[in-house]
Symmetry: C2
Subunit: 416 residues, 2 copies
């Protein structure tokens, strides 16, 4: 096992090489890595079987076991993901702005890689390949720290990619995987500021909080989504019901799912029973509401204040009634995690007020919050969804994995 | 004295109001604040006299005393700074990108304020007014924590501005100043993540390090500059000497001053004596070089490896010789703080290699590193110079005090 310091030094050496790769060379390496994953399928599947056996032994849930499981089809999908990233435009070397100063200096703002990106993740082993591909295409080295459940799978995937990079004439250290899975290593990883430019934690709220509190590396917070939908006085009831059901139930455990309804008092009597009726036809959803909600829906339970701030990731929905769009905005800005919120309305003015005053990464008018996603946005890729304001907000694609530098050319200018 | 928590809550309330202010209203408030500073000059000068008296009593250096001192002219200059910020274009509400998705969703990426900005600074009292003006124009609330040396001056300035904001019908809490000056308060301030969106520490390396290690709020690192100038084989000797002297001696204590020379071996014999000769005509500068440098310049001292990584902020310059532009780039990327570096050359290819491979915020060809400055870049303002890669790099003007959100409009779209 390689020490963190040594991995850091290797990454820094590799990052300077990566920054000089042409788009062609990067794409060739990605295609080679895709091939390498498919050719190494047997080895990857054998490693995955070790993780699966350990999972079964530890009594891992069926759902988690399914997330962990790889098969030929899933490896093909991983390889296909790499090919798709190869086909995306290179985000590096774009001239973002250029101008000339009165003293003749020619100024250029150019997009460049971030450098070394650290990623801590707890999820499926395919993230190992996906995260590498995005970081690499944007000219970055990546150091990955996956979960212990998938360690053998992750190691096999990283090994296959490293071998392919070597064959493509590109530094293998473009991807490094931390093999230790203890918490001490994670804590030490968060302090490797000397080598790592940006740290992206992807996973549970606990992981994100640990990174916020302990990392000395600048981080991008991802993921937590207590998303609201506000049903305005003039909303179309059918649209409202469809949007809420889609946002709540289409996928239950995702950050862009709706967790809380805010309902104008004047429409609550028409909307809530219609919602309840349609919900009854699908998976049951428990509604926890304020007094007005409970008066209209006898099935609803009483919401406590902690409900309004909770990301359930479950078949539960909190609901509160308000007298105006202003009250709705105040409630949402107070309880939201600033991820995604929607208004359903026929009132142009209220829609504009809502989109202007709601302080969230993505604000929707008459659409489901479930669209907050790099692919749905048309980015062709996604490394995560940022819920902080620094650097990137909302779905992050390739351009969000770059920064910029200024290149200034003169003829001997000195400052007066 | 108001508790930090209470200040945080006030800032959050004010930030939502600020986000809805029109450009006109913001400009009127800035002009009112400028007037308020001039009308309150007497009170501000009396407060400043208290700080000056304490400084003299504590044996403060002449240079620091001069930085601390306010007079009528300096207050006028502060007011003029506010008026200049009022005249700059509003960075908020710009549509940065817009596109339509195949499902009909209309996507817009719009610039918005960051929210609440915390600034910790150790410098002159005019920063109180400057930092407020920039944050405010970009629609942000600011909570300021100045140094204890200037506390009375800072309080008087903040009071004058708050009064003016009230008269302009704008929330006074757009600017709040922390009156406690102990380290415990600073440490607690760095943990106010619930209220503050971004923290900008401006000051000594020690302050920046403390913020990196302790802040749970996303920070923007500013300031440290171990800036290099590389004299390439084909450099014009006269240009090289002029640029180095300007970058080293024009202002000694600033982050964009040159601290280290990297010299191609083939030009060292012509360049170094010419530099020494010109330096002898001005303020003496101590040169600490490698063997080759010392062989050419008998006056030079021997550089230790710690010299190459030191930001002297003094009349000292380290110097190392290299055999190629590649060696120069490797040396600089190793020792630099990634602030500003320059190449002096007549070789187009080497210039391009240098600007492509040097990993710094600002990379110059044939110009002084002293141009790294918001005003010199033409930004019309500057809140600091970022040396990190997340969010902003190099001089930060008004746009760097904003982030963005996505506004998505549909007609009932749900995700498939």
């Amino acid at each position: 096992m390689i020490a963190l310091d040594e991995m850091g030094r290797r990454a820094v050496t590799a990052k300077y090489m990566l920054q000089t790769l042409t788009e062609d060379k990067k794409n060739q390496a990605l295609l080679q890595a895709a091939k390498g994953l498919q050719e190494g399928a047997e080895e990857i599947l054998a490693a995955n079987e070790k993780d699966m056996a350990a999972g079964r032994e530890n009594g891992m849930h069926m759902g988690l076991l399914d997330r962990l499981r790889l098969d030929k089809g899933r490896i093909d999908a991983m390889a296909e993901g790499l090919r798709q990233v190869a086909a995306l435009p290179d985000p590096v070397g774009r001239v973002l702005e250029q101008w000339e100063r009165p003293n003749g200096l020619r100024m250029k703002k150019v997009s460049v890689p971030l450098g070394v990106i650290g990623i801590i993740y707890e999820s499926r082993p395919n993230v190992t390949a996906d995260a590498f591909a995005l970081c690499f295409k944007a000219g970055n080295c990546v150091i990955l720290k996956g979960g212990s459940d998938a360690i053998h799978s992750n190691m096999a995937i990283a090994r296959a990619i490293r071998g392919s990079l070597g064959r493509a004439g590109v530094p293998e250290d473009a991807i490094q995987l931390i093999e230790a899975t203890d918490r001490e290593t994670t804590a030490a990883f968060m302090k490797c500021k000397a080598y790592i430019d940006v740290l992206i934690p992807r996973g549970s709220a606990g992981l994100i909080r640990a990174a916020v509190e302990n990392s000395t590396i600048p981080i991008i917070e991802t993921g937590t989504g207590n998303c609201h939908i506000y049903i305005d006085e003039t909303a179309d009831v059918t649209d409202s019901v469809n949007i809420v059901i889609n946002a709540k139930t289409q996928r239950i455990g995702v950050c862009n799912a709706c967790e809380s309804l805010v309902i104008h008092k004047k429409i609550a009597g028409a909307f809530l029973p219609a919602l309840q009726k349609k919900l009854a036809q699908g998976h049951p959803v428990e509604i926890r509401g304020d007094e007005a909600v409970c008066a209209i829906l006898p099935e609803a339970g009483a919401a406590g204040p902690e409900d309004y701030g909770t990301e359930y990731l479950d078949y539960i929905l909190s609901a509160v009634t308000v007298n105006s769009v202003e009250e709705a905005i105040a409630h949402i800005n107070r309880y939201s995690t600033h991820h995604s919120e929607a208004i359903v309305t026929d009132n142009r003015e209220n829609a504009e007020k809502f989109t202007r005053e709601i302080d969230s990464a993505c604000v929707y008018v008459n659409a489901s919050t479930r669209f907050t996603d790099g692919f749905e946005f048309g980015f062709g890729a996604e490394i995560g969804i940022s819920t902080q304001k620094l650097h990137a907000r909302g779905p992050m694609g390739l351009p969000e994995l770059t920064c910029y530098k200024y290149v200034i050319e003169g003829e001997g200018q000195i400052r007066q």
